[in-house]
Structure formats: C-alpha cells, structure tokens
C-alpha cells in the first residue's frame, strides 16, 4: 500500500525546502549580457518590460543562476506532483459507496487525540487534481514575472510549492485539527506572495487585509473546532460522522453554534457577501499567478469546507441555515455581477465575477439536492480552470503593458489574435457558454436548485445574464475596436505562455463536451452527503413526531 497522499503533500514541501536551501548567489551584473540563447531570444522577442532582464536559459551561465535553477526545480516538482496525483487518481475506485479512499492515519499529538489522517472522497480528489494542474501552469506563467526582484523570484517559487503542499493537505485532511492546521498555515505563504511579490502600492495593505480577515474567521472556527473535540471526544472525521457518535447526539442549539463557527470561516474564505471585501483588493494587488491560486484554489477551501464539515458534521443544524445561506448566495450572485460590470481593473473585475460564481456554488451546496451538490462540486473544478485561464491571460497583458486597467487596452485581437482568442474562450467559459465546462456545472446547479425551490433559481438566473454583460463588455473594450498606437507592437503569445494556458483551454473544452469522468468520481461522494442529510432530517422529524405523541 502506497501512502499516496502523504507523498503528494511531501513532494512539493520538499521542493519548497530545496529551493529555499539553494545557495544565495547574486549573479554578477554582466551575466545577463551574455549571448542570448534561442529560448531567451523568443522571450526577448515578446518585447516586454521584463524581457530585457531575462537571463540566458542554457549554457554555462545558467549553472550560476540560482533563480533559473529555482524555476526549473519548481516546475519539476510541480509536474512530478501532478503525475503522482494523476496516477493516484487512476487508482481511485469510482464504484464504491462514496467513502474515503487512500486513507492513512498516524498518531500526531496523542495528548489531544490528534492524528495525521488523510483520505479523499470524489470531491476532494477532483479538487486536489485541479490544484496540482494549476500549480505547474502558474509556475510557467510566472516564469519571468519576478525577474527584477533581487532574488530573481526564487522565494516566490518556494512559496508556491509550499502552498501547493498545504492545498493538497487541506483537501485531504480527515482530521479536523489537521484540517485547521493546513487551513490556517496556508495563509502565511499567500500573505507573503501578495505582500512581497504582489503588484501596486497597495499590496501590503491588501495582504494585511487578506490575512486579518482569514485569521479572524479561522479563530472563530478554532472555537468550533475545540467545541467539536470537547463534545465528540475525537478529531477524526470518520469517527465524528459515524452513526451514534457523541457529536451526532448533541443538542440542536449547540450544533447550530458549531455550524455557525465553521460557516463564518468558510464564508470569509469562499468569499460570500458581506465578508467578501478582502478578495477584490487581494486579487487586485496579487500577481496573476497568485490570483489564480488564491481565487482558483484557496477560495474553494471555503466551499469545500461547507460541504465536508458544515453539512456532514452538523446535519441536524443544516435545515435551520438553508434559507439564510441561500439568501446570502443570491445576494452574492447579483452583487458580485453588478460590481464586476463597474470595474475598470481587470484583476478586480475577475475577482468580483468570482464572488458571483461562488454564490452559485454555495447555492448548489445548500439546495441539498443531488444535482445541486454535484453541480457545485463540479463548479468548483470548472471555475478553477476558467478563472485560472482568465487571470493568466490578464497576466500576459500586464506583462506586456504593465497595467490591468481596461482603458489601457483596445483592439488587441488585431495584433495578438492568439491571445485574444484564448481570452475569449476563457471569458465565454466564465459566462458558462454551452459546450464549455462551466455550463454543465451551472446547469446542474440550476436543476438542483429548481428542484429545491424555483424562486431562488429564477433570481440566480439574473446572474447569468449579467455574466454575459461583464465578460463580453470587457472583451469588447480590450480586444476589439481600433488598436491604439502604443499597442501596435504588442506581441502575441510566446511558446511558454501558450504552454501555460493551452492545458486549461483543452480541459475547459474537454469537460464541456464530456464531463462524465468527473461526475463519475464526484457522484458517489455527493450521494453519501445528501443521504446522510436526508437520514438526519427523517430522524429529526421522527424525533419531533415522537415528542408530539408524548
């Protein structure tokens, strides 16, 4: 038996440590003046502001350049992790009852009954897969982004790998304490990625805002985590959710408080209106690569947590929260979309669209129907790919022009048709065009929500209309129309950039046409969640009925 998940967590962690431990050699100033190799010339041909600082990619000079070595190591480790997880996924048994697979349990802090316990069900697996797909692409896209820093961006790549280890850990953890540890610890690399390697003068402020919001949520969750332990007597998810556990027997009022403790943390993470305000500033001040991981993966921890912890640990409390959460989701959908329309900065615009999209995800989760939750789980993955692609393309634009403001662009499709094409596909995926992956998930969410109650489904449909508006209007203003003088020499996608986005576009199209493999993995897990919920409701109803009979 291979400890798949431990390996998957350890591999990027080791990578981060290796990059961190590289000797700190600052290359002599003249090093970049060496004859450029073919690869470097391709970069230089892109004419970007940073391209002049690109160091030779091959030859003896590369040996002495720790930044380049760091990038290669980062790419190597992230691809290795991707392969490892892919092989693990092939061994995943989709015919099972939706329980945990690849389980590993080792005692960690026996005094508190804490275990290093990992395991995945279908939902966790697809989210881990999404994360490990995105990381190498982010590394590739950010290749030259930090070249003008004194460490050549080496620290950034170490942070990315450290974050990857924690992202896998947070989705795989089946011990509530371990989950909390990853949940909180992953804030630190992101904090440095925004504050130190971010964009603009406001980045320190945005990093602090992000950290404080998340910490506040996390600390509230800490009380709930302690409460779960004191009541349930264990941290192991499998024991807590087992029938007849002490946690299942807790009185409804306490269960509601615990639910709320977890939910606030997850809502901040997700981000849900009204605790979303950190996201636009954080994403707006992030480098595009950071934004991909922040919005594409980190925020999913919030919605994943709702599904895994709020719903499954406190089934008795869920029915009480359904309508408030549905209402908040609807506000998020409409509010995020409306604010997205008004944005002049593309990074912030995409961040607001995500607020809207996360509204769909929470709506699907709390509709408590099979389609709704399957759609929500699928939505998380598809949103990661679609938004990831959008952020990356905006990142390419920023690398060329040094700005994310919409008004600085126009007519790009004439000079850079490939870039514009990728932008269009990613954007259309964002508005859930049929044939592209997000459509399937959005459709499933609508079906599930309609079965739950038609009214929220109708209101949510407004979000779809607005999505078409904000995406197409952004495309129209940046890519079509006359090309301004300054942009006439805008280069098209380089080979590296193409490799960074092509996999995402391919995945968006592939899963748009044939989503079945993902659904096969997700469905058993969703069925388990929904059934557990239904059982509890029956039990609660029975209990009420008995109480009335007495």
């Amino acid at each position: 038996m291979i400890p798949w998940l431990t390996l998957a967590i350890a591999l990027p962690a080791i990578g981060a440590a290796v990059i961190w431990a590289l000797p700190r050699v600052t290359p002599p100033a003249g090093a970049s003046g060496a004859p450029a190799s073919a690869a470097a010339r391709a970069e230089a041909g892109s004419g970007t502001a940073t391209a002049t600082k690109v160091r030779p990619a091959t030859g003896g000079a590369a040996q002495g350049d720790p930044a380049l070595l760091a990038k290669r190591l980062a790419l190597g480790f992230s691809v290795a992790t991707l392969l490892l997880v892919a092989v693990m996924a092939l061994n995943f048994d989709t015919s099972g009852a939706g329980g945990l697979q690849f389980e590993e349990v080792y005692p960690w802090i026996p005094y508190f009954g804490v275990h290093f316990a990992v395991g995945v069900d279908g939902i966790a697996l697809v989210l881990i897969l999404m994360s490990v797909v995105l990381v190498p692409l982010v590394v590739l896209a950010a290749w030259n982004e930090h070249a003008d820093r004194e460490d050549g961006g080496r620290g950034y790549f170490a942070l990315v790998l450290a974050l990857e280890a924690m992202m896998i850990g947070v989705f795989a953890a089946t011990d509530v304490f371990l989950f909390y540890v990853f949940f909180e610890a992953m804030l630190i690399p992101v904090y440095f990625m925004i504050g130190r390697y971010g964009r603009g003068a406001e980045r320190a402020k945005a990093a602090v805002k992000f950290l404080l919001y998340s910490l506040a949520g996390g600390l509230i969750m800490l009380v709930a985590v302690i409460g779960v332990y004191v009541i349930g007597g264990t941290f192991l998810w499998s024991e807590l959710t087992a029938p007849g556990s002490a946690l299942a027997a807790v009185d409804p009022a306490t269960a509601r408080w615990l639910f709320l403790g977890f939910f606030i943390a997850f809502a901040i993470k997700a981000p849900m209106w009204p605790v979303h305000t950190w996201l636009p500033s954080a994403a707006g001040s992030s480098s595009p690569g950071t934004a991909v991981l922040l919005v594409g993966v980190l925020d999913k921890v919030g919605t994943y947590g709702m599904l895994r912890f709020c719903l499954e640990l406190f089934p008795a409390a869920v029915s009480w929260f359904v309508w408030p959460v549905v209402a908040l989701s609807l506000v998020s959908i409409v509010y995020g979309a409306v604010l997205a329309i008004g944005q002049s900065d593309m990074m912030r615009l995409i961040a607001y669209t995500s607020v809207s999209h996360f509204g769909f995800i929470t709506l699907g989760i709390f509709a408590l129907t099979q389609q709704g939750q399957a759609g929500a789980a699928l939505y998380m993955v598809n949103h990661g790919f679609a938004t990831g692609a959008l952020f990356l393309v905006v990142g390419f634009l920023i690398a060329r022009r040094g700005s994310a403001r919409i008004e600085d662009y126009g007519g790009v499709q004439k000079v850079a048709p490939k870039l514009a094409g990728v932008f269009l596909v990613a954007g259309l995926a964002g508005l859930a065009l049929p044939g592209l992956a997000p459509f399937v998930s959005e459709f499933l969410v609508f079906v599930g929500v309609y079965a739950f109650n038609p009214v929220p489904a109708v209101i949510a449909a407004v979000g779809v209309v607005l999505a078409a508006l904000y995406i197409l209007w952004m495309y129209q203003r940046t890519m079509t129309g006359p090309t301004p003088e300054k942009l006439s020499a805008l280069p098209d996608l380089s080979a590296r950039e193409t490799w960074a986005v092509a996999p995402l576009i391919a995945l968006i199209i592939a899963f748009g046409v044939y989503p079945q493999p993902l659904l096969n993995v997700i469905n058993p897990a969703v069925e388990r969640t929904v059934e557990a919920e239904a059982d509890t409701e029956v039990a609660v109803a029975d209990g009420d009925a008995e109480g009335e009979e007495e």
């Binding site: 004194e150 540890v181 909180e184 630190i188 320190a204 602090v208 404080l212 600390l219 004191v230």
Partner: protein
C-alpha cells in the same frame, strides 16, 4: 506556624509548635542551596576577585550554578513520585513544581547568554550604576572600561526567588520568595548602559508599584491567616472546605476569606501583569536593559503564573465560586484592553510588553478552567511562550540606530529590515506568528491547549473573547512583518549588529523551540505536563497536604 488555638479541643495536629529542629531533606532542597551558595559566592568574588578575570568567572559561576540546578531538578523528578513537601511543609516538591522550576532554569540559562553578550567590549549594562547619569564620574568609568558584574549575583538571587515562588506551600514563604525574586529585578532594571535616566525611571516605577502590590499581598495573607488560622496551604484548603477556622464555628468568617483572596490575587496578578495591574509592564520592559527584559518576560512570568496557579488551585481550590467571577472579569479585561492598547504602540519593546499582557490573559482562561487540563495547558503555554519571547527580545538587541548604535525601538524605522538581513527578519516573523497563534508554531498548540481546557470547563464565552482579541493582536504582529518585508527603508534604515555567538544561540534556541513545540509537541505534552480526566481537580497532581509528618514528635 502557630495555629489559632482558642477552642478548648486539642490543637490541630499539623505543624504544632516544636522545639526540636525540623528534619530537612537536604537532597530536595539542594537546587535552592546551590543557587543561594553560588549567589553568595558571586558577591564575594565581586568584592575580592581581581578585576581582569572577574567577568569571565562570574559568567562561568552563574552558568554552572544554573546547570547544576537543572540537573538536580531533573534527578528529582523520578524521586518525588506523587510529590511531597520539604522543610516542615513550607515548600512543595511535585512534578508540576519541578516542571515550572526546570522551565525557569532553562529560560534563565538562555537569558544569561543574552546578558553575557558583549559588543565592542561592552555589554548592555552601565559601567558604574552608582554614578550620576551624564556626570564626569560616569565618563571616567566608561573610559576606564569599568564593568558592572554585579548583574550576575543579582540574576542568581532573582532566579532563586523564582524557583521558590511556584514551589511555596506556605504564604509566608511565598511572600519571601516574591521579595527575593523582585528586589534583584528592581535593581537590574536600572542598570542599562544607554538611556540611563530612562532605565532608572523604569526601575523606580517598578519598585514603587511592586512594593505596593507586595503590601496588598501581605495584607491578603493576614486576612487569610485570620480566616484559616494558618498560612500553610494544606491547612487553608481544609479550613476553606469546613468554613473557616474553628473560631468561626463553620460560619461567619467569609468576609475575611473574600478580602484575603482578593488582596492576594492583586499581588499575584500584578506580577503576571494582568489588567488592571499591568501599567508597569510597558514602562519597565521598555526602560530595562533588553536582556533583563527578556529575563522578566520569560522567567518571571513563568514563576508568577506558577505561583498564581498554585494559590488558586491548592489553598483556594475549594472556593472557586469566590474567585472565578473575579478571574473571569480580569481575564476578559486583560485580553481586550491590552489587545486594543497594543495596536497603538510604536515601540517594539512596549508592543512586546502589551503582547505579554495579552498572553497573560490567555493563560488566565486556563486558570479559570480550574482543572488538570487547564493546569497542563498553562504549563505548556508558559514554556512555549518563554522560548519565543526570549528569541524575540534577542532580535530586538540586534537592531540598532545608525548614529550611536543604541537599540532602535521605533517600529517605523524598521522598514527594509527584511531586505538587509532576511534571516533575522524571518526569525522575528516566526516568533511573531507564534505569538499570533498560527499553526505549526508552539503558540498555536499552547493557545489550543488553554482554550480547550476552558471550553471543557464551560468557559466558552471567555474563549470567544480570547479568539476575538487574538484576531486584534494578529493585526499588530502582522504590521511588524509588513514593515520589515513589504516597506522600503527611508534613508539608510537601521543597522543590524552582527549577532554574536551568544545572541545567535538565543535566536537559534528560540526558533528551534518554537518550531519543535509547534510541530512535535507530543513528548512535552505526554511526559512533562500532567494529564488527567476531563474536569479532574488540579490537586490530583499538585501536592497540598503534608503527606507524612516530617516532624519527629
């Protein structure tokens, strides 16, 4: 002690007046005697040893004494079993006490490294403390390279008091321990080499306020004595259970107990720096020489909390209904007020002082829990916090101004430190994240331990206040990181003194302990701190009674 003996029955059997000399277990007293002997010897050296090699000798003596003390304490762990008392029942020796004493000794040893550190042939202490600041005489001493090696005997005496403080099983001994611990500290605070007036002001403030609090403490002891008829913890506990000494016929003595508990609590809460008795902390921490601040922030805090836990759990353990509302209030005030005031601080040492106050509030939640879990949580927290705070102050000693080279407290001027010396800035960031309670640092495990105990004991509202103030404290910890890493220095920025072997050692120990206790806290939690059933009385692991009468009748 002389018990009240007004009732016509037989006097209480315990600790009757005896003319025979008490049988003393010298082996169990050895740690105190070693430190005391070393302190006395150090005073003699100070007087008679030639100047040239005096400093080296003093350091060697202090380090050896602390090491020997530590070894003796470790050797006692197995020997004491369930615990016993020594010296006619005035000092308790059990595993809890030994944990506190061992922690204090190790932290003192690490602080000693900071105290002994010299830069350009000068340490952090004034050349001749008796001279008037700015006077000609002072200049003469500085030019002559005078050294103030009295620091070492003073530290030894202070540590002796700290070891006795949490071990006391008798209020008078506890008071003596308090004074033995405090008087050297008052002096040490006034010995800074730079900004001497500031340092002396801190010393005077600390002394005056400390003297007041000692008076409260002593007055409280008198009240408790009036109530219980004894100053022995075991007897007091029995008296509280039975409604006071026999004179009260099991009834109307409660006002005395109330006053006693309140006044004793003031003395102890002053020492741990809980709101509203915290005002000395920022001034003293800022004014004192930083190595001494480090000693106070780690060792003194551990000793004071050890004593506080003992007093509330052993003699007053059965009157929890009296003190719990008081400690609830104090804990909430401490966490909230200190966290909010800390946000406005601009000086690193003041900020760390307020941070220490907030941490005292967190530990108080474990005291409120009143269980073995709470005791264990507080013990772990104190040990973890001690190492982290030592590391943080060690970093503070290294960051200096460009002109004159004194320590640079002003946080706004720390901009760009992350670029200039990334290692140092990273170490400090780790300490700050540990203070903020981020997972994978010792601070998180400590916080979890105390909060878990409090929730188990039903003090959930207290924990909610705790996490909310935690979120506030995170703001100012994070702000320091922002200044160091994300902001570029205006002008030249601070210089960073090259870390000597000793300071570097302290920082390394701090980093190692912070990470080790955060990632693998298992060994400490399983073997060193007590574990008990949920809600079990702390006296299960703390000696309260004289198990066997040491007096030969």
């Amino acid at each position: 002690m002389i018990p009240l003996n007004l009732a016509d029955g037989a006097p209480p059997a315990l600790h009757g007046v005896t003319e025979a000399p008490p049988t003393l277990d010298w082996w169990l007293l050895a740690p105190f005697l070693v430190l005391f002997g070393a302190g006395v010897l150090a005073v003699l050296f100070e007087a008679f040893w030639p100047k040239g090699s005096r400093r080296t000798l003093q350091i060697a003596l202090a380090a050896t004494a602390l090491l020997v003390t530590f070894v003796l304490l470790v050797l006692q762990v197995e020997a004491v079993g369930d615990g016993t008392t020594v010296g006619n029942g005035v000092l308790a020796v059990d595993r809890t006490v030994l944990f506190f004493q061992g922690t204090i000794t190790v932290l003192a040893l690490v602080s000693l490294m900071l105290i002994a550190e010299r830069r350009d042939g000068r340490d952090a202490f004034s050349a001749q403390a008796a001279t008037v600041p700015g006077s000609e005489e002072e200049r003469t001493h500085i030019l002559a390279g005078s050294q103030h090696t009295e620091v070492y005997p003073l530290v030894l005496f202070a540590v002796l008091g700290m070891l006795m403080f949490p071990a006391s099983n008798d209020f008078l001994v506890m008071f003596i321990a308090l004074e033995v611990m405090s008087l050297p500290l008052y002096l040490l605070c006034g010995l800074a080499r730079r900004r001497r007036l500031f340092s002396q002001e801190a010393a005077v403030k600390y002394f005056l306020l400390g003297a007041f609090s000692s008076a409260f403490f002593l007055f409280g002891i008198a009240m408790v004595y009036g109530y219980a008829g004894s100053v022995n913890f075991g007897v007091i506990r029995g008296a509280v259970e039975s409604g006071g000494a026999e004179i009260f016929q099991g009834g109307n003595g409660e006002p005395l107990l109330l006053m006693g508990v309140g006044l004793v609590a003031i003395g102890l809460l002053f020492k741990v720096g809980a709101v509203p008795f915290h005002n000395w902390k920022p001034d003293v921490y800022q004014g004192a020489p930083t190595p001494i601040t480090a000693l106070m922030a780690s060792c003194t805090l551990v000793a004071a909390f050890g004593a506080l836990l003992r007093v509330f759990f052993v003699p007053f353990g059965t009157s929890a209904a009296i003190w719990e509302p008081m400690l609830w209030t104090v804990a909430i005030l401490t966490m909230v007020v200190a966290a909010i005031v800390a946000v406005t601080q601009r000086d690193i040492k003041r900020l760390l002082a307020y941070s220490s106050v907030v941490h005292a509030g967190f530990i108080l939640t474990a005291v409120v829990a009143g269980s073995v879990e709470g005791l264990a949580g507080a013990m772990f927290y104190l040990a973890a916090y001690g190492f982290t705070t030592l590391g943080a102050f060690a970093v503070v000693t290294l960051v200096r101004t460009r002109d004159g080279g004194q320590e640079l407290g002003d946080l706004d001027k720390w901009a760009g430190l992350g670029r200039r010396s990334p290692g140092l800035a990273l170490a400090l960031s780790l300490f700050l994240l540990a203070f903020a309670g981020i997972p994978l640092t010792s601070g998180f495990i400590g916080k979890f331990a105390v909060f878990e105990a409090a929730v188990s004991a039903g003090a959930t509202p207290l924990v909610v206040v705790g996490v909310l103030s935690s979120a506030v404290t995170a703001y100012f910890y994070v702000r320091i990181i922002v200044v160091m890493f994300f902001r570029d220095s205006e002008g030249e920025g601070p210089t960073v003194a090259r870390a000597g072997v000793l300071t570097g050692g302290v920082i390394t120990v701090g980093v190692a302990a912070t990470l080790a206790l955060g990632i693998f806290p298992g060994p400490v939690l399983d073997h060193l701190v007590p574990s008990g059933e949920p809600g079990q009385e702390p006296t299960a692991v703390m000696v309260d009674q004289v198990t066997e009468d040491p007096v030969d009748e």
